[in-house]
């Protein structure tokens, strides 16, 4: 007879000294865990609810401007600094951590419309409706020790007066060129008082310009003739142009997939395009109920933030048709500019009510240092929520967003209008000859035409200092 029974000595299964950790033994046998699926489901439900309970996205407001904030610029080299320009010509550098102004840049006579910092963070370029481009040296000392409360104000290192008012400016990545948008697109060098290059395509005002983060010589602009144009600085002519039904207010390139960009459009939607293939949008991001004013990508390239004239800030997935998050407060007015912070965990919005507002990028994220066990718990909650997100109860909780009444009503109205349009289209199609009205997807519908510079005569650059 051979016999053995389970025999456990207490010493092997308990800790030796009182300051040791308790011993943990695992057995992953499914039969020990009864109803594990139901337990997981309940956890998913609880995780979804907890997410809503902990959703406190608003961190704080930064006040100081005395007119509406028109533009902002990130300092790529310094995480907690952000520049903002307002309609009265005031430019400020903010310390996000303490939410105070640490430096002011006085000089502009009219509204500041464009603001950008060089990649190394030493030079700030601003432009505005007073037809000037101002180049500033960013006082690095004030960034470092922002503790002294004395009112710092910097002096510009150069002022370039030009022929037309400016609507936007953007600095090249890793170079010393910057582009301004106005009556035409001008390319400037830090050290020259005149544009080194100028592009014009059509007669209308260019309202925004953005350099490509992957290929520093490519830039995209949007103009008030409803066009989006892509330029290559190494060539004398613009590359391609796209005309949509409505104006594009702002453009942001995806920093991780630099061939893609997203355009914030006047028709309440954002359109993601592949710059190589402009004949249809890759994705249409709907949800805003009024014109989208500004857009900025997260440094991860997975999501972007938009600010809209409907007084809300929304966060979208780069490939999601609807927003992941909506931020609004009673006091926030029309949002004119938004930025993702350089670490991707905060969102900053500047609005008509003269304040900059700081939001968390993930509404329910726990701030501060997380212990490893806390982090694991958060990851687990996220995973179960993701696993059961298709089930009606979980979906209902995850999707629910409290909207201000005007936005709720406006979105309902937009839905009705869209539905009516669709119905009308359907009927029209049913009563016309088969094939005479082909179905057009929303990704193509808003595009009026696409032009490449091959089809049209290449324009000579107006001024070309480089060739002198």
């Amino acid at each position: 007879m051979k016999v053995q029974v389970i025999s456990r000595s207490t010493d092997e299964f308990t800790r030796e000294r009182s300051n040791d950790l308790q011993r943990v033994f695992r057995n992953f046998d499914p039969s020990l865990r009864t109803q594990e699926k139901a337990v997981e489901y309940v956890r998913a439900l609880n995780a979804a609810k907890l997410d809503k309970i902990f959703a406190r996205p608003f961190v704080g407001a930064m006040d100081g401007h005395i007119d509406s904030v028109s533009c902002m610029a990130k300092n790529l080299n310094h995480l907690k600094g952000i520049f903002s320009g307002s309609m009265d010509g005031d430019i400020r550098l903010w310390d996000i951590a303490s939410r105070r102004t640490i430096c002011q840049f006085p000089g502009h006579q009219g509204a500041v419309r464009g603001l950008t910092a060089s990649t190394d963070g030493r030079i700030l370029v601003s432009c505005g409706t007073d037809c000037t481009v101002r180049v500033w040296n960013v006082p690095l000392a004030t960034i470092m020790d922002s503790d002294d409360l004395s009112d710092n104000s910097a002096k510009e290192s150069a002022v370039y007066v030009w022929k037309n008012a400016f609507w936007g400016v953007d600095h090249q990545f890793d170079g010393n060129l910057f582009a301004t948008a106005g009556a035409q697109v001008d390319i400037w060098d830090h050290n020259r008082s005149q544009p080194v290059n100028s592009f014009e395509w059509g007669k209308d005002t260019v309202i925004s310009v953005r350099f490509n983060p992957g290929e520093p010589n490519i830039l995209a602009t949007s103009a008030s003739d409803r066009s989006i144009a892509i330029y290559d600085l190494r060539m004398s002519s613009p590359t391609s142009k796209l005309i949509m039904r409505t104006k594009t207010n702002s453009i942001a390139w995806n920093p991780m997939e630099p061939m893609n960009f997203t355009a914030a459009n006047e028709d309440c939607n954002c359109y993601s395009y592949d710059a190589r293939k402009l004949d249809e949008a890759k994705c249409v991001h709907k949800d805003h109920v009024s014109a989208v004013m500004d857009i900025d990508y997260s440094p991860t390239g997975r999501e972007f933030v938009t600010g809209s004239y409907d007084r809300t800030v929304r966060i979208f997935q780069y490939n999601g048709g609807h927003s992941r998050e909506i931020y609004h407060t009673k006091r926030m007015q029309r949002v004119f500019c938004v930025k993702f912070s350089c670490d991707g965990s905060y969102v900053i919005s500047g609005s008509d009510d003269t304040n900059l507002r700081l939001w968390k990028a993930k509404a329910s994220e726990q701030m501060g240092v997380l212990l490893p066990r806390e982090r694991k718990n958060h990851e687990y909650r996220e995973a179960v929520k993701n696993r059961y997100k298709h089930l009606p109860e979980v979906k209902r909780i995850v999707r629910h967003k409290h909207l201000p009444k005007p936005i709720f009503k406006a979105s309902a109205l937009r839905r009705i209008m869209g539905e009516a349009e669709r119905r009308k289209d359907e009927r029209r199609r049913a009563h016309s000859a088969p094939g005479s009205m082909p179905k057009e997807s929303i990704r193509k519908k808003r595009i009026v035409k696409k032009e490449g510079s091959l089809e049209k005569e290449p324009l000579k650059p107006l001024i070309s200092c480089l060739k002198l």
């Binding site: 051979k2 016999v3 992953f28 865990r33 309940v42």
Partner: protein, 574 residues
Amino acid sequence: MKEGMTRLYNWYEMRSIQYAEQHNVDLQNFKPVKMGVEQEDGSLTKIPPPEEQEFLDEMDIKVKKYLRGGSANLEALRDKKLKGQLAVREELYGKSAKAAVKIEKWLMPSEGGYLEAEGIEKTWRIKQESIAREVDLSSSKNQYDIVLPDLGPYTLDFTSSGRYMAVAGRKGHLAIIDMMNMGLVKELQVRETVRDVTFLHNEVFFAAAQKKYPYIYNRDGTELHCLKEHGSVLKLQFLKNHFLLASINKFGQLHYQDVTTGLMVGNFRTGLGRSDVMQVNPFNGVIALGHSNGSVTMWKPTSGAPMVKMLTHHGPVSALSFHSNGHLMATAGTDKKIKIWDLRKFEVLQTLPGHAKTLDFSQKGLLATSTGSFVQILGDFSGSQNYSRYMTHSIAKGYQIQKVMFRPYEDVLGLGHSMGWSSILIPGSGEPNFDSWVANPFETPKQRREKEVRSLLDKLPPETIMLDPKKIGTLKPRTKRREKRSKEEREAEMEAAVADAKSSVSTKRKTKGRSKPSRRAKKMQEAGERAKRPFLEQQKQEEELSKNKKQKISEQSEQLPKSLQRFVSKKAGS
């Protein structure tokens, strides 16, 4: 294509070249490393060494257990994105199952028990005394008899970790015993009949079914609650995941009470008379009741009618037990039969002869049956769910065994009988390795408190009790709605049937006068009408239905004041 655009196209390519340059990878001569044996036709087959092969085979079998069912059929999916995501997920499941198997193979701290006969020995002839001689001292301490002749037949219950035991004597003796050091935690005398005892979610609370009502006590013996709504309860069961205390009383009423909020979740009359056979299926939380007419009914707290009603025995059901995997149920009846049922098909797998007053499945699937003073352990050794005799044991003659219960995570069987309680060793009955987060026999008070909070957070709603708990978290399949045919379609169908019937009327010439044109026309018309009849009947039925509906709506609206009548829903009749 412009130069700039081409560069964008080549962005990824450039990255890879940069990578190659940085890491000195020779891109021209780069080939993936192949493992295995290259055959003549160039195909590649892996030939692992024999012991590794054996291990792989063994692994395949065990991986199945951890995979919890087969993978989804991804080929049928048309959504490429979803397909990719699911494929990744499936791969992760496979990996985690393999990791679990490896952990099971190498990292488990204790080994399971076994009993093997040598030569002409038979396992069922091996006595407890001879087992005691072979096993170590600490294990042989688990064989004992406690004789308390006055306080009459005892019933018992273990906590889920197997650390604590609650015993209840019929004459009012309640005790909690720490099985680790055999210490008495608390003993009390309630001075009235105690029919059953059960632990709640941990050893701090227990419920006892007393003469008139069940009571909840804490470990110190303080009476916390008297559950008057339950009446005089015969049997108590606690559903750990749902925090529900279920009871069946003298009048055959089944009560479910939530012990966290005190809410009475369900109160159902079984309508089948007095029953004191109740067992919860740990797999899905369904409660099974055995009745005196030989039927077993299965209940959930959200419906007043039993989910399952099955005739198991010719005569009263005397005992009932569930296997922990949820597929097997054992029932015993007074018709001298013990039956093992497959709960997936509700079919008898095996019928064994014999009485059993009480039954219990162990964690490893051994079945203890007992009648009088005799205990028999059945085991399934062929792997084909064919239970055969494994061990037997008799306690002192004349002792009537009231309850058998395996102690979780130990090779021990507890027996409550008319003269006290006993404990015997059954090698191979318990799960050798516990999981500290599921049930920990070495739990400290702090861990217990933490676990209490955690299990309260994971408390399941009563709706999660269902026959197939795997349905939770799945979507309801889309049902096709029957299309309503339009009036024209129905008429066309009728016309076709009529024409068909008319054409089938024979035009054979018959005797004089019978195939006159008038007669033939009449015949045709009759055939047509006959063909029409089913259609007309159906139409009539439908009309009547809609008429009833309308009538109902109008009745409803009549009850309302006139100003509100226009708001009555058109669909309200259904």
